[in-house]
Symmetry: D3
Amino acid sequence: MRFCQSFMTALHRFIGPDVDVPAGDMGVGTREISYLFGQYRRLRGAWENGVLTGKDFASGGSLVRPQATGYGAVYYLENVLKHEGESIEGKTIACAGFGNVTWGICQKAADLGAKVVTLSGPDGYIYDPDGVTTKKKIDYIVEMRASGRNQVKDYADKFGVAFYPGEKPWGVKVDVCMPSAMENDVHLEHARQIVGNGVKYYIEVANMPTTNEALSYLMSQPGVIVAPSKAVNAGGVATSALEMAQNSERLVWTEEEVDQRLRQIMNNIYTMSVEAAEKYGLGYNLVAGANIAGFQRVADAMMAQGIF
Amino acid sequence: MRFCQSFMTALHRFIGPDVDVPAGDMGVGTREISYLFGQYRRLRGAWENGVLTGKDFASGGSLVRPQATGYGAVYYLENVLKHEGESIEGKTIACAGFGNVTWGICQKAADLGAKVVTLSGPDGYIYDPDGVTTKKKIDYIVEMRASGRNQVKDYADKFGVAFYPGEKPWGVKVDVCMPSAMENDVHLEHARQIVGNGVKYYIEVANMPTTNEALSYLMSQPGVIVAPSKAVNAGGVATSALEMAQNSERLVWTEEEVDQRLRQIMNNIYTMSVEAAEKYGLGYNLVAGANIAGFQRVADAMMAQGIF
Amino acid sequence: MRFCQSFMTALHRFIGPDVDVPAGDMGVGTREISYLFGQYRRLRGAWENGVLTGKDFASGGSLVRPQATGYGAVYYLENVLKHEGESIEGKTIACAGFGNVTWGICQKAADLGAKVVTLSGPDGYIYDPDGVTTKKKIDYIVEMRASGRNQVKDYADKFGVAFYPGEKPWGVKVDVCMPSAMENDVHLEHARQIVGNGVKYYIEVANMPTTNEALSYLMSQPGVIVAPSKAVNAGGVATSALEMAQNSERLVWTEEEVDQRLRQIMNNIYTMSVEAAEKYGLGYNLVAGANIAGFQRVADAMMAQGIF
Amino acid sequence: MRFCQSFMTALHRFIGPDVDVPAGDMGVGTREISYLFGQYRRLRGAWENGVLTGKDFASGGSLVRPQATGYGAVYYLENVLKHEGESIEGKTIACAGFGNVTWGICQKAADLGAKVVTLSGPDGYIYDPDGVTTKKKIDYIVEMRASGRNQVKDYADKFGVAFYPGEKPWGVKVDVCMPSAMENDVHLEHARQIVGNGVKYYIEVANMPTTNEALSYLMSQPGVIVAPSKAVNAGGVATSALEMAQNSERLVWTEEEVDQRLRQIMNNIYTMSVEAAEKYGLGYNLVAGANIAGFQRVADAMMAQGIF
Amino acid sequence: MRFCQSFMTALHRFIGPDVDVPAGDMGVGTREISYLFGQYRRLRGAWENGVLTGKDFASGGSLVRPQATGYGAVYYLENVLKHEGESIEGKTIACAGFGNVTWGICQKAADLGAKVVTLSGPDGYIYDPDGVTTKKKIDYIVEMRASGRNQVKDYADKFGVAFYPGEKPWGVKVDVCMPSAMENDVHLEHARQIVGNGVKYYIEVANMPTTNEALSYLMSQPGVIVAPSKAVNAGGVATSALEMAQNSERLVWTEEEVDQRLRQIMNNIYTMSVEAAEKYGLGYNLVAGANIAGFQRVADAMMAQGIF
Amino acid sequence: MRFCQSFMTALHRFIGPDVDVPAGDMGVGTREISYLFGQYRRLRGAWENGVLTGKDFASGGSLVRPQATGYGAVYYLENVLKHEGESIEGKTIACAGFGNVTWGICQKAADLGAKVVTLSGPDGYIYDPDGVTTKKKIDYIVEMRASGRNQVKDYADKFGVAFYPGEKPWGVKVDVCMPSAMENDVHLEHARQIVGNGVKYYIEVANMPTTNEALSYLMSQPGVIVAPSKAVNAGGVATSALEMAQNSERLVWTEEEVDQRLRQIMNNIYTMSVEAAEKYGLGYNLVAGANIAGFQRVADAMMAQGIF
């Protein structure tokens, strides 16, 4: 708390709801954001709560914000499957980690009839062939994380499933791989396992979870569809924008409304990526499409607003 | 007008839509608030109309704001009745005063099939067994107040009902008592009358309308349900928040939209109070529940935002 | 661009989303507004995009804003026709110019089953008896304007319809005349032609498109209904207000939502004008009604907010 | 007072000690400036007293400010006389008016051994061959002005000197003419009288006191030295700058210090004018010199600070 | 330090060099003021050091500020003695306390040839017939205070003079009494001792050091001159103003310059008091004079700046 | 100019007279600073000219600012010589470069009876045994620099002295070496020459003009006194502070006043350095003294103002 307060004392003159809006990253959750906002409020003497996103509910945090990255990733996956003429229902998914993002994936996948069958931690991974689909299991993820023990083995102990110490989940045969934990999680050897298992959908979720080597390898496989994290995980920051909108309106949206807008945004991101790649003759290339669409948007805005 | 302008000249540096938002109380209505806002606008040179609530419509005042406290009180009552397995339809209500609040109660009660049978003034009270339910009667309340004569006898003269000079309406046998005028209106003697009449619902509306003695007596009666004004009359300030939301959005909501949101808010307040009392083992105690729920909310926010 | 930037450097201290919000007029379109906004943003270091309206989409411009004046004019016309017991379906309309406003009229008229049969330019007018109703024709208007050639003859060449060099379209026999180009476009001689052709609906769209003489003449004809531009063309500035609302909410509305709100606003404007004229005993006089309703609104607000 | 307060309420956002600093002109004296400052202070909630000059002493007004224009004019005259190898001692001076400026001239002339022998008013002029040199006489000027009677005849009555009703003082034979009252005071006929009387020094003090015709005539006379008011009366605004300096320092200077700095400034103005005229080959031409030096200064600053 | 920082976090929005300038009082010295200023600077991100007075030298504190109240009191005394045809040289003075104020009196009295012969503390008083005049003795006062032992007996032990435990110094026979410690220090019994000892000069220094009874008694004695603390101790706050002036100028004055300006200010205060009492027919009454002069100044400024 | 304007558009929100005050360094002179100030003024709409130092005179630049570093260096040298019981009169000085700093050294050395005998440029150095002491020679330095030719040979051509192409002036036998041009100008080989020539005074002027090796060597020589540039060249930034003081006061100081205050400041810097080294037992060590005194000052201020 003291650190957050000192940090904001130095930072507050340079941010604002219309100026610059920081968001938390790894290790900065609702608790820290709320401390930061408390100090900002004190210093400004004003309730400008759009200045930070990911706040606690009483400070104007949005419902669904914690799960938003995970939900968004599943919505993105749904689009990819639809493109291939498949349904998400019944699909098995390998995930990594057991933080907010993975929690959101488990929940939304369960809602849509799919199941996440692996979780991982610094200590190894678990394999739950029935899927992390029940409320009890999904709630237990939150509990595990809050415990501070930082080990996924607890899940295996609790629910009587297999735990593989020191290993990563990428050798499990699933329909979809969603590396959702850390940078450089999937190495070339894992990529080879994934391809060997005939996994068709490689959906990055964490920021840059694949080493360069592994990514090149995966993208060169004709039977594999690679989706880039910069598009797949946009649901988090998109919901930050929805939080800012609620703060600006001085209103609180229901969970349904946030979720529905999030789904709409993910569909748009997917569609714009597909169209951008096609427009530039690159076929169904989700990585190139995301890069092009993103660049195009920034470039157009810069041209429209005039040179500096 | 001059007083409002001078007052705002001194005050304007300390308020703002995100800083502090004054609202009118007794004797400060739309007219005064609009004068205050006019001066604020002049001094700031900006249209920051969220700075004050209860404004005239052209300055951004919300529809339903004048009636909101009364409407909200009836919505609260509806919840209490539902809890007891009863319906508001057909209920008779004793009210005090004939200001905005009472006007709102009459209107909303009529809308929902109940009827207010007493009004009061400094000169006594009237008893209208048919209820203040017609448009003509309800509009006449506004006219009476605007006349500046400050006497409720006019109503009796106009509609040919009984007028009881110098008396209070609490001896009338009704289903529900809603003291909706001033502080310390209901004394122990009135409370005894109320209980004697077998009134089951004592719904405070004005700020602290019951003397401490009377309140203790009423709360100790097993057959009487007491609802505290801090929860019951929250519809007014809640609609101020809705006015601020409209000002922030630069939009004007329809009467229906404001009314529906107000109803939702009153239902939430009722539910949170009931749940808070239950959670702390106090049963169906609306007074304790309102205190606990309010305290909890403030305490949680303070903890979340860090110590000062 | 340089001019816009210099202008904004001098202007920026005197405007703001809550202070004063400039909009473009003839010759100032999306391009210029976006340059102005780019410079404002640079100077403030803040994303206060409600400060200007008519921006490009990426800077927060509203959908339907370019067509809004035209759409609004047709909605107004629809109200007038309904008052006379007629339907807009099947009506023929004479328009002038081929800019944004006329483009919007063509589109919305086509949507509602009417057809615009004339367009004009500095070089003359065209007469298209089938109406400017197809997507191809309507899109070509945008193309013509963007070409910078500034001649309406291109339309005649493209679609094989008659072109009348050096003439104005007011001699064409139609159901409705909508002068939608410039000031003082319709002179007494044209007014006589219009009346001679038995045109019943004279709906001004451009700012003051009728000379005083011609206007007096038209208003004195018992069989002619004259609608004043100050009400008819309000859809443009109304949609600027909707753009500001979206900017305040940090949301983007769909085309349908903007269009529907625009229609609602135009209906209100029409209704308030009609009621104001009636209230002051002037019958169905749209010109007087617009003047009275506008004056009344400003005067009421001034009284409410107190003298300066 | 009410007018000053309203005016400042509208003006205050556009001025400031570093922004724009209004000063009074005819009819706006210490009283009005102090009312304006009082309102500014109230609105800002801050003691930014450099925002206005000519304030009362308690609000930070400078000593010598009321007399500064007159003192400065005499210092300028002193320079001119020195250039001609003469001394101010013993010189007779014709002045017009009996306001602040003339009062200052009388005082400073007396201090330096010269004497003002005429004063004028709307009712005529007085001729006091002994000069307005004693404290009693000089104080009486202030009294006359404060009386509100607005007639100079009072002086003649009080001190037993000649009063010439309806006439101007320019026919009196003196060493120096200093028109110090109003615009267009000296016409061609007066100029001819002045020349006829052999007056060598024509020192404008009021803003543009000489008609164009009269000024051309005077400047064409080889024996007459004309000094332009834009330079001669700069002591007033220069002392406003000294008032701002004192306000910035939060200090109060003694009368001596202000007077000495004022003298220094007037000497500089004179010298810069003389040098500018010489540099551009115009000889000893005080009018041209003032124009050139002023223009040069502004032009240089504009070039140095870059184009806009 | 933490307290100062928290306090300033709450206070900083309401103060400023041109807004409100807090100064320390008992128990708030240079250390606390500098902590307060450090936090203010941090929060504002600006070097607005005129916002607080009594700062450390590096933060812009003025030389002589710590001793200013004491120095000023002696300058005031000097004026009183001069009025009575006496000189300060050789006078003996009884002081109370041994804080900043008394320290300043000792120093300045010694500089001018007088001597302070008593100091007091919560434990009693000391009597030093040679006076607290040497650098060694005067420096020891600072040391005593910094020790935190809070006893004046240390001085007696150090310099071998008499210590009177539990007593006050007002029974000592001196020329001048200067109660310079706390409120209500001198009671009626002490006043009687003072008069009995033939003390002619009773110069209050601390804020209200005399009980009402004692003060009435002293003022009623024909042979006693009473000077009120509101005038005598003004040197402290006057030097705060000089500190603000230095901060505004961004300059540091020498000790001599501050001291000389302080002396000038004290002379003015004395003179204005004397003149005010005389003007209102109260003779040489320093108490009445200070009240009148102070009131007059505020009243005049209020009138000049207009009613609120 | 365009670059300066763009740079200031980005920078202006982060600076201010009380916030951060940029000054020019190599290649940024009065011209650039004035362009920067012009843009700042435009953007702020306020005359806050303390925001930048080194401005043109009309924008509030201080007299003596251009020469200040050079003057200050000579004043520092004077102190060193006095410490050694010598006088500056008659001393010969080797300088490098021919920019503002060297120009200032030449002038002030000449004023005090010393003479600079070498100048250097990228093309070599000149040796003028009579010294750069006459107005003609000193003015020619300014001319050389303004020519943009960037060669010191011009001086040799003009005044008929020796030019040594491609060489540095450190082998010339002089009393004092003052490297006043660039970083790392004096290498070990030059240091050896300097020592070999028996030069006793090595006074750094440019920022870090001596390589580490050379500096260690020089400091280890018992007969050489080394003065560090961080103290010697402080006159420039000190005069920037004096410029800010003049801007705050809204006054212009004479050349004499600036020069005298500059001298005082340099004397203080010298004295504080000497005392700091002595206090910490390092003897007459100007390098250590400057480091200690600087560190002490910052550390004391940080302690006084409280931890962050």
